[in-house]
Amino acid sequence: MNAGATVEKLRLENVSLTYDDITVIDAVSFGVGAGEIVGLVGPNGCGKSTLIKGITRVMPLKTGRVCVDGLDVRTMHYGVLARLVAVVPQNAVLPEAFTSFEMVLMGRNPHLGFLRYEGQKDIDIAVNAMRITDTWHLAGRRVGELSGGEKQRLTIARALAQETGVILLDEPTSHLDINYQIETMELMSRLCRGNGIAVLAALHDLNLAAQYCDRIIMLLQGRIYTEGRAVEVITPASVKAVYGADVSVLSHPKNRLPAVLITADRKHNRDEERRFSNG
């Protein structure tokens, strides 16, 4: 189930990140193995996005270190890092005047020398990335004309065009309809297993995390509250402690993974509940 047998692609050791004096991530350590999807869950502001910034050196680490393929990212050239780690950002600014294809092709940037133009190989890779994210039909359209979900799939295509061993996803499904949520996560697990890519995904949907992640890390105020397999992490107690929400956690009827159900506190529902318990 976990990375025991596989190669560890991404390793965080004692990582802390701060904005001025406010500690956002506090001494976090974990690893992601090749072929593994690790989910990062936790309430808004718990530091999921900040952690991704720290891993990609957008924010300097306060303490600790991040290693990719055993190499410390702090001493790495940005181009080298971009060949190892790709990011699918959340609500990102995109170059609106460019076509979708041109934008996905920009994912090839770290593989190109200073004055090199994209060759046929790069074009093929970009086309393939667009096909598997179902964005190929948008190729000639201007990025600015597209919907939020289409843009999100384009950023996934761009990350795939980067051909990295590690992919970091920041709420990759937040703008997507349920079919594309499933498709995106299916795509990630296929790539993960097929190509031995290590995926770290910040997710807000606990059900999605339970279904697709090999391991889940639950963050609370910048620290790891609990981590492990879905059944160990997603419990009514942990959801209450971390999110402050009362939920029921059932066992999924098909695969026994935890499924989170919410209960609305309204009169109609209480009546229904009473009727139901009275038989």
């Binding site: 910034k53 050196r57 181009g79 971009a82 170059p95 005047a97 920009m106 940037n109 000639g140």
Partner: protein, 358 residues
């Protein structure tokens, strides 16, 4: 998931159109040559295209053409009109490409080369140059260009130092610092202007831009500086493309964002200051030419930058031609021409801009 039928057409639509873009560059270069030669020929004495060409060719090493033209014409062409046309072309090219660079760096379609204080600094420098009583003979280039260049670079240096936060360069802070320092420098300039007395006319003419006293030594200073700077900027086309994502993503795509910003800001500032120091504050070139190029050939900076160079040169050579011929023998300041023709064109672009071109 994929539809096999539309494949060839689809692949066609995503091809990068290198060919048409390269053809556009070559054609525009030819057009630039023709415009330049015509502009050299037109003036108070009109000289035919072929004579102009012959006179210029006769000066090239290894070419011998028997002169069939009077000596004064040769002097007019070689010593007055040619340096003037070259200066106008180089300045137009430099201002356009600097404008395109600033627009790309700031991700702001309204950015122009004067956004962060070059013009105000150069203007103050130039005014001081005009007001200093000593003769400038010690400095053979003339005191005004040197002061203008120093003022322009100095102003941006101050903006850069004020806007810097640690080792990073937040673009919003840079713009705000630029606007604030620009206002301060303009205040000083205005005061000096109203107390300038007899120098007022010369200063005003300089501020509106123009190349009324062209000299070869000006060309020999501006041309190499601008040429090197422009080639250098053109090499950063792909980096500027990637930087149209936000800075975070650009870095995650392998761009050293801070270094790229620093290099491009410095180089764009130097070529702007070089253009301004001999041509004065010529407005509108730096903002409309990149936009026009973007409208016609698209947003890819790898072509936007070189095409801006060529189109900027053509535009300013033409504008300068109008400036010296429309009301001949008196000259219209070049800034008036560029704004008079440039502003309506820019408004037309704004009206036409149904779909975002930036």
């Amino acid at each position: 998931m994929t539809n096999g039928q539309d494949e060839p057409e689809k692949l066609q639509s995503v091809s990068l159109k290198w060919k048409s873009r390269v053809i556009a560059i070559v054609c525009l270069l030819l057009l630039l040559m023709i415009v330049a030669l015509l502009a050299i020929g037109i003036g108070s004495t009109r000289i035919s295209f072929s004579t102009t060409l012959s006179i210029i060719l006769s000066k090239l090493p290894g070419v011998s053409i028997t002169p069939t033209w009077p000596g004064p014409i040769e002097t007019a062409i070689l010593n007055i009109r040619m340096p003037r046309v070259i200066l106008a072309g180089v300045s137009g090219a430099a201002l356009s490409v600097a404008g395109a660079t600033y627009q790309g760096l700031f991700r702001n379609p309204l950015a122009d080369p004067y956004l962060i204080g070059v013009s105000q600094g150069a203007a103050l420098g130039a005014i001081i140059g005009f007001l200093i009583p000593l003769s400038a003979s010690a400095l053979s280039l003339g005191i005004v260009p040197i002061f203008a260049f120093t003022g322009g670079i100095g102003a941006v240096f101050v903006v850069y130092s004020l806007g810097r936060v640690g080792r990073t360069l937040p673009m919003t802070t840079i713009i705000l610092a630029g606007v604030a320092l620009g206002a301060f420098l303009s205040a000083v300039s205005s005061y000096l202007l109203i107390t300038s007395g007899s120098s007022l006319h010369g200063i005003s003419a300089w501020l509106m831009g123009g190349f009324s006293s062209p000299q070869w030594k000006h060309v020999w200073v501006t041309l190499p500086v601008s040429a090197i700077g422009m080639v250098f900027i053109c090499l950063f086309g792909r980096q500027l493309n990637i930087m149209q994502f936000d800075e975070e993503q650009a870095q995650q795509l392998g761009i050293n964002v801070e270094r790229t910003k620093r290099i491009l800001l410095v180089v764009a500032t130097i070529i702007t200051a070089a253009a301004v120091s001999f041509g004065g504050i010529i407005g509108f070139v730096g903002i409309i030419i990149p936009h026009a190029v973007r409208l016609i050939w698209g947003p890819d900076f790898r072509f936007l930058l070189p095409l801006s160079v060529i189109c900027g040169a053509i535009f300013l050579i033409t504008a300068d031609l109008l400036a010296r011929t429309l009301l001949s023998p008196s000259e219209i300041p070049l800034g008036i021409i560029t704004a008079f023709f440039g502003a309506p064109f820019f408004l037309y672009l704004l009206r036409r801009r149904k779909k975002a071109v930036f």
